[in-house]
């Protein structure tokens, strides 16, 4: 098999691929599972007591008249994995089933084992301020807070948006005159999504970037004005607390820390005001 020729110019690949698609039609390989059958097997399972609280602090759900409906739409229970599963649909079509805590053959834990599309982008756009979130639990939080959102299942999806059919055809045209508010996880790979998303916007100024430390700072400011009134004080606070913030700390962690949904909304609004 050895073939020690030089590699072609990778920039030619896009055109090559387009031409190739006219010459060869690769077989569609059916997945070894039927997504609808998996969903059917899950949807009638009752969720054991205490399992929802493994994802969210229950206080976030309290007094939310839509909570039951949202949980029913997005969350199932897998008896096989003894885990919650998040279901993503496009209208009524099942796109993704993600098992929160599955096990592989060697009994190793798999976080968010996914059936169906890992690239499917869940979104709801109903006003001019759209939250960009990362992860399955964040989708449900956005639904609970009833905000516009675009949710990537993982950071890596943003790296190839220019070839993402759903993004190009459905989402990108809808967001050009909107504000996008990125709720970044506290890690490098999430911060690296800023650039590719920005490049998809005609008005990059409409991008509002919010770090988790900034939400925590707003919380501290709201509850204890005396400590951080000056901009210098804010800077010192942020530098000190950023070091302490857990790697990968995300919006779900933040919501679970704050618990009170009204306070979470207030913190988001205040943080956004400071950025606009």
């Amino acid at each position: 098999m050895s073939n020690l020729h030089k590699l072609p110019n990778p920039l030619d690949f896009i055109n090559f691929r387009a031409e190739l698609s006219n010459k060869i039609k690769f077989d569609d390989v059916e997945p070894s599972y039927d997504l609808n059958k998996i969903f059917d097997s899950l949807q009638n399972n009752s969720i054991p007591s205490g399992y929802i609280s493994k994802l969210f602090d229950l206080q976030i759900l309290e007094h939310n008249p839509k909570a039951k409906e949202i949980l029913k739409e997005f969350i199932c229970y897998s008896k096989i994995d003894d885990s919650l599963a998040v279901i993503l649909k496009d209208n009524e079509e099942i796109k993704t089933i993600a098992i929160n805590r599955a096990k592989d053959k060697e009994n190793n834990l798999i976080k968010w084992k996914t059936y169906g599309s890992k690239k499917h982008i869940q979104y709801k756009i109903k006003d001019d301020f759209i939250f960009i979130v990362y992860g399955m639990a964040e989708i449900i939080l956005c639904e609970l807070f009833n905000v516009s959102y675009i949710a990537f299942q993982s950071d890596s999806i943003t790296k190839n948006l220019q070839n993402h059919k759903q993004w190009i055809e459905e989402i990108k045209p809808m967001i050009q005159d909107k504000y996008l508010i990125l709720l970044l996880d506290n890690d490098k790979s999430c911060r690296e999504t800023i650039k590719p998303i920005k490049e998809e916007l005609e008005e990059p100024r409409n991008l509002i970037i919010i770090e988790m430390i900034e939400l925590l700072q707003t919380k501290a400011f709201l509850s204890d004005v005396g400590t951080i009134v000056s901009s210098e004080g804010k800077k010192v606070w942020q530098e000190h607390n950023q070091e302490l913030l857990e790697h990968g700390y995300d919006f779900r962690d933040f919501c679970n820390k704050i618990k009170n949904p009204q306070l979470i909304e207030e913190i988001l609004k205040n943080t956004m005001k400071g950025k606009l």
């Binding site: 020690l4 690769f26 077989d27 390989v29 790296k159 650039k195």
Partner: protein, 91 residues
């Protein structure tokens, strides 16, 4: 500096048999529509883009391993080549 392992992991999430077949054809191999190497049908590409030789060489690996071995390249170069093909940006 790009974290090369992270870039590889990110690329792997976007790869499937079709993209891997297209890259292999791009770099000079003949792949049949059922994801096998035309000149050695014991080599095939699985649904997640993994390449395996069920025959003599016993090769088993991803597209990066394959390019590294077949084109005699260090792994970071193989990863960056695939990233460039797919338009995935890195610094």
């Amino acid at each position: 500096m790009t974290d090369i392992k992270q870039l590889k992991d990110e690329l792997k999430e976007t790869l499937d048999n079709k993209i891997v077949a297209e890259i292999l054809i791009f770099i000079g191999y003949e792949i049949t529509r059922d994801y096998k190497f035309a000149n050695d049908r014991s080599f095939s590409i699985s649904r997640n883009g993994y390449i395996k030789d069920f025959g003599a060489t016993g090769f088993a690996g991803d597209i990066f391993d394959f390019i590294m071995q077949e084109k005699n390249l260090p792994l970071p170069k193989a990863i960056k080549f695939v990233a460039d093909c797919l338009g995935v940006k890195y610094e």
